[in-house]
Symmetry: C2
Subunit: 434 residues, 2 copies
């Protein structure tokens, strides 16, 4: 029986796994240094949890199934609903501020394509319980803190920031009723993936008035706050939406990342639950989908049966990011190679017990240590095996051990040393305390 992997999934051989771990460790470290704590939820939840608030695209792409008890379940396509459920469950006992991150494995039953798999990882950071714009700025700063750390510069990426509130106010000023807004957002979010013609037709279907479509298109094409201010007549409410964006940009300047950020009214986001600031990070070359996106979702916790609770966050998948980092040569080659600290070689079978003793001792000190399963093939073959595993040092257990000695060979310099075995082993310090 020969079995294939399912399309849209990925096998992580050690080399691929090293890259995945490098990405995820980076997300973790940056989250922690920005004061976020890690959480996670289950891989599957009740189906209805993802059908109501996530928006049409996600609800259409669910992997769903029933358990033996007839419960309708689904593999999580995003973790934000789980976050809302978990925070609601313990809202009175959670220490504030709630600054949480997670690196969930997520699933979307879509057609696999470049940068989109049916199974992927997504870094999520969220700040809950805080309505000030500094929280939105912290989310964007943390996102950039990671992207800068791996070597991306302002020549590579741009954060595009807008506001759903601004869009809503604009739509309302055009006479579009509020219950229509969500479906228009869904169309606007697809703009860059559609031809201009198809996009216009889809918009026309939603608003059925060509002059309004033209106004929406004009708005989407503005490039700065003054341009938008020229385009639409400001009421006090809209002024607040502008103030939000300006305040976030101002905080980002204080945090030293203003060069990466710009206002871009064409940013909408696909998810249905955003209520205020929204943003996406794009590669400047513009060949890829958004690297990540996020925004404010002040109603979601209430919609999931909790209190009204402000919230803002970001999600970044591993697929587009990895493509970009590989294109830019920013994935370190070294992490993809096999490494060991010590290779323990055997010059004569009679010393097997000592070989195992030395290996066990090295391991107990947190050094990676291996020996050959074919010690009878001779010392030179063992040294070759050590080289192929990029061993830093080789310890040779041979007749010298009868005088209590071991040979230690530095694999880079080729230098060999005779050392007293007991002294050498007893003086080893645990690797990570060095």
């Amino acid at each position: 029986m020969k079995i294939q992997p399912v399309k849209g999934t990925r096998d992580f051989y050690p080399q691929d796994m090293a890259v995945r771990n490098w990405l995820i460790d980076g997300w973790r470290r940056v989250s922690i240094r920005n004061g976020f704590e890690e959480y996670d939820g289950p891989i599957f939840e009740y189906l209805k949890m993802f059908q109501i608030k996530s928006g049409e695209e996600i609800a259409e792409q669910l992997f769903s199934f029933e358990d033996r008890g007839g419960r309708k379940l689904a593999l999580r396509p995003e973790i934000t609903p789980t976050l809302a459920r978990m925070v609601n469950q313990k809202i009175n006992s959670l220490p504030r501020p709630i600054k949480w991150f997670s690196v969930p494995r997520l699933f979307r039953a879509e057609k696999p394509q470049k940068g989109r798999l049916r199974e992927f990882f997504q870094w999520n950071i969220d700040i809950i319980g805080e309505n000030k714009n500094i929280a939105d700025a912290e989310v964007i700063f943390t996102t950039l803190d990671y992207l800068r750390k791996v070597g991306l510069t302002k020549k590579d990426i741009k954060v595009k920031i807008s506001s759903r509130k601004l869009l809503a106010d604009f739509f309302t000023s055009l006479g579009i009723p509020i219950d229509k807004h969500e479906s228009i957002y869904a169309v606007l979010d697809k703009k860059n993936r559609l031809s201009a013609e198809t996009f216009e037709q889809m918009l026309l279907k939603q608003v059925s008035d060509k002059s309004i479509v033209t106004k929406i298109l004009d708005f989407m094409n503005t490039a700065s706050i003054p341009e938008v201010e020229n385009l639409i007549k400001l009421e006090s409410e809209e002024f607040r939406a502008f103030q939000d964006i300006k305040s976030v940009l101002n905080n980002l300047e204080f945090l030293g990342v203003e060069d990466f950020c710009e206002f871009d009214p064409s940013i909408v986001r696909g998810l249905a639950y955003y209520t205020g600031i929204v943003f996406e990070v794009h590669d400047i070359a513009g060949n890829l989908r958004a690297i990540c996106g996020g925004g404010r979702f002040d109603n979601l916790l209430k919609d999931f049966g909790g209190r009204l609770m402000p919230a803002t966050g970001m999600g970044m998948g591993n697929c587009v990011l990895e493509i970009l980092l590989r294109e830019k040569g920013l994935v370190p080659k070294k992490i993809q190679e096999r490494h060991v600290d010590y290779f323990v070689a055997l010059a004569d079978k009679v010393f097997t017990k000592k070989l195992y003793e030395v290996t066990a001792k090295l391991r107990s000190m947190d050094f990676s240590a291996v020996f050959s399963y074919k010690p009878l093939s001779g010392l030179s073959k063992q040294l070759k095996e050590a080289s192929s595993q990029n061993a830093k040092k080789c310890i040779i257990v041979g007749s010298e051990i009868e005088n209590g000695q071991l040979v230690v060979k530095d694999m880079a310099s080729g230098e060999q040393q005779l050392v007293n075995a007991d002294e050498f082993l007893s003086q080893l310090k645990p690797k990570n305390e060095k």
Copy 2:
């Protein structure tokens, strides 16, 4: 809409997540120091992959579903079939030895109970391509290397070792045909979870001869190799099975862990694909299910369409392990607390920009650094917030900054120091290089 988590799943709040990360990081570090490389496969595979070789219990407990293309898929209940598929796919290009580990999230649609959830993590280590007993011993040593590292001693746990080959030879000597063996293994594996009566009845159903049942029971109750040797007449083949066990025990002695290990013919393992050495680790108090188990599965790669390729491995779930470690007080309290390196407090709103600058600089050096979202509540409230997050140090940005100075307060000693801001920030060394 108020939604509950699905039963048998687990929410990981930051405190729980810290314990989960501590467990998994321990597995990772021990795997690496024993020379294993990490891999992973997809969360779901074709359903048939888990129905054929894993045994009845697993096949009955699958979460299965269809994708839009009508493919029958299942959430992985174990990773060994994926390992076999992945190794077969690249058998000619994989560097040897193949010593791989993984920490997959797994799923079994069973009734949740103590130590058994429907979603869990399992540490897997496997050595492929090596038929020598040292490979089996390495797997057992690596398992013990972890269990000892977290503080379990020979008073807490015992490795019980037997051999499927020995069982097969014994059954054959009793006249039981080979095609019956697998279903008897499945019954024997349930021994400790059944009453003596039910167990005997189930055995009788398989072999339909009371005298044979008695012989099997006698065999299962022996406690040492000599006892088994007394019980059954040794043919040359059976002798080889004994030699395997003796050789593994001998290697474990050389590796310095013989005190943890014993021969126990009652060990069978539930999975259908084992062919030789099998083992389980049990808590000596005996209140829990096996902490982990493993063994040799020399036919699995061939059964999955590859070459005949010897293989031996181990799987350890997080549920029983976590219960045991908590019972023994071996889960460190400290990891479950919130920590930050620096809390940056603001004495006057006019210095907000400096506050953000200092925070951003600390973070870029890999220190976790946070500030209050309520700086206007005053300095003493901010210091309280710092304490509640167990901040090591507090930096106060106040009027001193007009002279280029910051106050640095050590939160443990309460000691305060005035430092030159530029000097302090420029002399910071990246946290992990210290």
